[in-house]
């Protein structure tokens, strides 16, 4: 006798064919409803409050349009982004270079470790006032603050990546008489890359914070300066525009590094040295 098929069993037992529908099948609908209700409530109650202290979504949209048309937002965004880019690239170059050196020589690591730990433990924001005394209020102070915020995560991650390169791989390269430069660029760098990218992901968020902090305190140019300025003249709607732009920038930068991490460092699951 033939075995009954699944269909026949379901038929015989009188089971329901379709799963009962549930609101959880459409999480995005719940999210959409949540955001819509929130925006409507904000619009409704926001209109009733004092515009000096609070604002509402349509006013923010209107302010956004104005700031775009006047070109101010784009101009300050460009200033901020250039400081961010210069500071971040400098910290990337120096962090990776020094990190590789620290990862490869235990003596150098022991020598630099106390200094690095002390500087890393110091909240970098606390150094901003001194940096302003040293470097003034211009572009250079922003670059240095961004650099300081981003440098340590990259350095520490690179060093631990270079330290964790499988000893077997390095030995094979040595056995095939690879010169030190090749061992560095063909073995250690690729093996440390996933670690470096993890450091970059942490560093980019911190670099953004550094940029904002520096601009808030110097308060002359950039998005942080706009925040500070509009806060002082009670233009709350324009402040919200800047905050939203910064939030989008934050999400965008982190997403971009995550994407880059997946593209560049696909071999994350390598064997690890058991040293």
């Amino acid at each position: 006798m033939a075995h009954p098929t699944d269909e026949q069993i379901i038929e015989e037992l009188g089971l329901r064919r379709d799963r009962r529908r549930s609101i959880y099948d459409h999480p995005n609908l719940i999210r959409l409803a949540s955001v819509t209700v929130f925006l409507l409530l904000w619009e409704f109650f926001g209109r009733k409050t004092d515009p000096i202290l609070f604002t509402y979504p349509t006013a923010v949209a209107e302010a956004f349009g104005k700031l775009i048309v006047s070109g101010e937002l784009i101009k300050q965004l460009a200033v901020s982004l250039s400081a961010l880019a210069v500071g971040f690239l400098a910290s990337l170059a120096l962090g990776v270079a020094l990190g590789l050196v620290l990862g490869m020589s235990r003596t150098v690591e022991a020598f630099c470790e106390p200094v690095i730990n002390a500087l890393y433990a110091t909240p970098q924001v606390a150094l901003t006032p001194l940096l302003m005394v040293w470097l003034g209020l211009g572009f250079s102070v922003k670059v240095v603050v961004v650099f300081l915020f981003a440098f340590f995560p990259i350095l520490i991650n690179t060093a631990s990546g270079a330290k964790n390169v499988s000893a077997a791989m390095v030995e094979v390269a040595r056995a095939y008489l690879a010169p030190p430069a090749q061992i560095l660029f063909k073995v250690i760098c690729p093996a440390a890359l996933p670690f470096i990218m993890a450091g970059v992901r942490i560093a980019i968020g911190r670099a953004l914070v550094g940029m904002i902090v520096a601009e808030l305190f110097t308060a002359i140019t950039g998005l942080g300066a706009m925040l500070s300025l509009y806060g002082n003249i009670f233009e709350t709607a324009k402040m919200f525009v800047v905050i939203v732009v910064l939030a989008v920038l934050g999400v965008g930068l982190i997403r971009a590094t995550q994407w880059l991490e997946r593209r560049l460092a696909t071999w994350k699951e390598t064997e690890r040295a058991v040293s």
């Binding site: 999210r31 110091t122 150094l127």
Partner: protein, 275 residues
């Protein structure tokens, strides 16, 4: 490793040196100590030659430390900062754990709240400082709000992902033995999530410290951050370094306490998520 007689004979015949040659790698502790001494000595020598308005040196900082630590003003500032820090962080911990548990356990809560949680988590919190000052004024409440916002998200996100990774088996066994929702929370989910929560608290402590310094520097009225701004504006560089060093120490001590607590309270899992 003990050698047998044959091996010892062979060694004697080959006339190999029995002691290892001196290598720096074998004396890393000494290298570290040397590093600290060299850095402090160099700082002292060069610092003395630089104009004291711009850079100070260790012995001057030591003198300034003894001078201002005993003053009423300094003690009041430090206690004020600690008070704000403690209040803001406690509220952040309680709410962060509560919301994280809710979002992790109930999908409705997750879908309703996650748009805001992700958006706010990605927004650099420092960007909200001018807005919060506008709403809460220059006093303690705005600082508490900033510490709260800085500390909330690391705890919330870690608790949330901790609950999501609780093994379904554990929950099912709990259910099978007739545990109600309350019992499941206190006996299964909370203990399983605790390592994640503690990792979140460690991140939160650091973030909250940065939050309070930034807020106090920006309002520049009371607290350690205000002292930083005051000393740097007065170009009293030796005094400036005193709060910087104390803040670094505070960060290290707090993070060590949480780490100890983590080992004591949640010794059953070594995982930690840095978000």
């Amino acid at each position: 490793m003990a050698l047998n007689t044959l091996e010892q004979q062979a060694l004697a015949e080959l006339d190999l040196p029995l002691t290892r040659p001196f290598r720096l790698v074998d004396h890393l502790g000494a290298v570290r100590a040397a590093s600290i001494i060299v850095v402090i000595a160099l700082w002292e020598i060069f610092g003395r030659q630089v104009n004291p308005l711009f850079l100070s040196y260790p012995s001057a900082i030591g003198r300034a430390f003894l001078q201002i630590v005993v003053t009423n003003e300094f003690q009041r500032s430090a206690l004020g900062s600690l008070h704000v820090f403690a209040v803001g962080l406690s509220v952040a911990l309680v709410l962060g754990i509560a919301i994280g548990l809710l979002m992790g356990r109930y999908r409705l809560a997750e879908y309703l709240l996650d748009p805001y949680v992700y958006a706010l988590d990605a927004t650099p919190r420092v960007a909200l400082i001018p807005l919060l000052l506008l709403w809460f004024g220059l006093g303690n409440s705005s600082k508490i709000a900033i510490v709260f916002l800085s500390g909330l998200f690391p705890v919330l996100m870690n608790t949330f992902s901790g609950v999501r990774t609780v093994s379904a088996q554990l929950v099912e066994v709990g259910r099978a033995y007739g545990a109600g929702e309350g019992k499941l929370f206190t006996k299964v989910i909370l203990p399983a999530t605790l390592p994640f929560i503690m990792a979140g608290i460690r991140l939160a402590v650091g973030r909250a410290l940065i939050g309070i310094i930034t807020a106090e520097m920006f309002t520049a009225v009371t607290g350690m951050g205000a002292l930083l701004v005051r000393y740097s504006s007065a170009l009293a560089t030796d005094k400036f370094f005193v709060p910087v060093i104390l803040l670094a120490l505070l960060g290290v001590i707090l993070s060590n306490i949480v780490e100890k607590l983590q080992k004591h309270l949640a010794p059953w899992k070594e995982t930690e998520r840095a978000l």
